[in-house]
């Protein structure tokens, strides 16, 4: 990877990210413009019409579109996404408070997905017709057919309600890290609470990735270069886990990038079922309360997360795939 190429690639990626963020900001702004009356939320019904108009003027609500949008963007860039009607606190602060909960849930689920899909996918590709393969593939079809929220419900019903082994909602005890991060991964109680939600969150992605890895690996194992690697006298281990696996993982990483958005959507479902105090749960509450600034803040933060993680995936993709030239994601 040469430096100028990398710079050009990053530039194109950033441009695309900026475009996506621009669209998202437009969506956010139009929501702010059309949803609810910020005035009423602030001052209530008791203020006279003339006073309202004066206030509107003062708040700039009668300004032309572009000026209002410009103001919205300027504030947003400075981290001011408005004040939550319900919490009476800056929306950004409310959202970021919930970020660790969602992040840790996604982190554990991602570890589950990667940790299981690669070995299982590789195993089922190598031992195509073994009994274990048939069992794994059978489970994977079922796994794909059960929506995330149902996996979550069944997990709660079986392990919390019927068996009483697992807690059914919330994060449990958290431990405050020095930089203000409330971590549930550092207490036993917190770990116990994250088991079911993270399994539920990974329940569709895991079989999806097992199937993809298996399909890719089976194809790669048929290629000439794998045959050639064996003809060179390499150990089976090296043929499988270096020659074949490396080629298998390239399209898998690419699919990982495509599935980030879906994973975020699944966090909303999982958090709702387990009342997990994360961003997705907060978002649904905000929707029900018509807490416009919070809704906007969530959309913008999720947009940012989406853009950043996609860029990261693309970087990894170009890093592991030497044949790709930096064409700015036109893959």
């Amino acid at each position: 990877m040469k430096a100028p190429d990398l710079a050009a690639f990053l530039f194109r990626r950033l441009l695309q990210a900026a475009l996506v963020m621009f669209v998202i900001s437009l969506v956010g702004f139009s929501i702010q413009d059309n949803l609810g009356d910020p005035l009423r939320e602030l001052v209530g019904q008791s203020v006279s019409e003339a006073e309202r108009d004066a206030l509107r003027d003062q708040m700039g609500l009668n300004d032309p579109f572009l000026i209002q949008y410009g103001r919205f963007i300027t504030r947003a860039v400075q981290g001011d996404l408005g004040t939550s009607y319900f919490f009476k606190k800056p929306a950004l602060e409310v959202i970021l408070d919930k970020f660790p909960a969602t992040f840790e849930l996604v982190l554990v689920a991602t570890c589950i997905i990667i940790g299981f899909s690669v070995p299982l996918g590789v195993y089922t590709a190598i031992h195509r017709d073994s009994l274990i393969t048939k069992i794994i593939m059978g489970f994977s079809i079922i796994g794909i057919s059960v929506p995330v929220f149902l996996t979550a419900i069944f997990a709660i019903y079986i392990f919390s309600v019927l068996l009483g082994w697992m807690p059914s909602f919330g994060r449990g005890d958290t431990y405050a890290l020095p930089w203000g991060w409330e971590s549930g991964l550092l207490t036993l109680d917190g770990l116990e609470h994250i088991v079911l939600p993270s399994i539920a969150l990974s329940s569709i992605m895991l079989p999806l990735f097992i199937r993809l890895i298996r399909a890719e690996m089976m194809e790669v194992l048929q290629t000439e270069y794998v045959k050639y690697a064996r003809a060179k006298g390499l150990r089976t281990r090296r043929v499988r886990y270096v020659h074949a696996l490396k080629n298998t993982l390239i399209p898998v990483v690419s699919l990982g990038g495509v599935k980030i958005g879906t994973l975020i959507a699944y966090t909303i479902l999982t958090e709702t079922v387990f009342q997990w105090p994360g961003m997705g749960f907060l978002f649904l509450e905000a929707v029900n309360r018509v807490d416009t600034p919070l809704i906007i803040a969530y959309i913008i933060i999720v947009g940012l997360i989406f853009v950043i993680s996609n860029t990261l995936v693309d970087l990894i993709y170009t890093w592991i795939n030497p044949t790709i030239k930096f064409v700015g994601g036109d893959r």
Binding site: F149, L150, I153, F154, V161, A215, G257, A265, V287, F306
Partner: protein
């Protein structure tokens, strides 16, 4: 008649009739469709008709459990609605939204795919880039945000009346890339074939070639993805309804039925949630098996590309 005999004699039907999994799943899907379509006749109760409900009947367990009631095979929900009838009606709503959303997806996707594949160049690059971004944002995420905004904008009462249409629109519009990509790929494949060159050589207009020659040849992959797309649409609808962004409890789909029962699950009233969940799973599972089989049978090469 000739169409039917042609179908019965076709290769596809022969393989189908020999495959137990395919036959079984098709049968289950058929059963669901028929029962759902005939639910006004078959269902013991009309769950939308409030006069038939009695609050005293609420939360009765299924008949085989202690405290079960003769009249309610699968028990009742917290409003006293017969679960069996509600599930039958709910399946109908889920299926309807799934099918209509997929019809809309197919319409938009096939149009864009045809244009993109046939015109190529910048138009193609634009649409495919858009499809990439749209796919990575994911239908569910897009639908959640869109419906959340609508709901907040319209207020939940008006939203309830519009929810069927909103769901069909949102799921239909958001999933176009699947169809567009599939159709585009087969247009590109067909375009390089000789019969298209031949049609061009004899001077047929572009539009004619596209609709009369290329389009029919793209239909088999479209059929292949449609079954799975319906399953996906039903999952999406159920997820949205579970979040409270879809069908209202007064006119429940399977998803909103599951949602309405979920709060009672801890008090031991499991059937309101678990029974429609099982129905939903069986429905989606059968559709997926059928889709898998179709994909293998019609076009083995397509298998990997999802």
């Amino acid at each position: 008649m000739s169409t039917i005999s042609r179908i019965l004699q076709s290769d596809l039907f022969y393989r189908f009739s020999r495959d137990k999994v395919a036959m079984g799943s098709a049968l289950v899907v058929m059963l669901f469709v028929v029962v759902a379509a005939l639910s006004p006749v078959l269902a013991p109760q009309n769950p939308y008709d409030l006069t038939q409900l009695d609050i005293l009947d609420s939360e009765l367990p299924p008949r085989w459990q202690d405290g079960g009631d003769e009249r309610f095979l699968l028990g009742t929900d917290h409003q006293g609605r017969d679960m069996l009838s509600t599930i039958m009606y709910g399946t109908g709503i889920s299926l309807m939204i799934g099918v209509f959303a997929v019809l809309l997806q197919a319409f938009i996707g096939i149009s864009i795919g045809l244009v993109s594949g046939y015109i190529g160049g910048r138009v193609d690059a634009f649409f495919m880039r858009l499809a990439d971004i749209q796919l990575s944002i994911s239908t569910l995420m897009l639908a959640i945000v869109a419906l959340a905004v609508f709901q907040a904008a319209f207020g939940s009462e008006l939203y309830q009346d519009l929810s069927i249409i909103m769901l069909i629109m949102v799921i239909g519009i958001a999933e176009w890339p699947q169809y567009a990509r599939t159709v585009r790929a087969s247009v590109l494949a067909e375009r390089s074939k000789e019969y298209v060159d031949a049609a061009r050589v004899i001077g047929l207009p572009k539009r004619h070639i596209m609709f009369r020659h290329v389009l029919p040849n793209t239909l088999s992959p479209v059929l292949v993805i449609s079954t799975v797309q319906i399953a996906e649409a039903i999952i999406t609808e159920a997820s949205l309804s579970f979040l409270g962004l879809g069908m209202p409890v007064t006119q429940p789909s399977l998803g909103s039925l599951i949602r309405s029962g979920f709060e009672f699950i801890f008090s031991g009233t499991w059937w309101i949630t678990i029974l429609p969940s099982l129905v939903l799973i069986v429905l989606i599972f059968s559709l997926n098996l059928l889709g898998d089989w179709l994909r293998d049978a019609l076009n083995p090469r397509l298998y990997k590309k999802t």
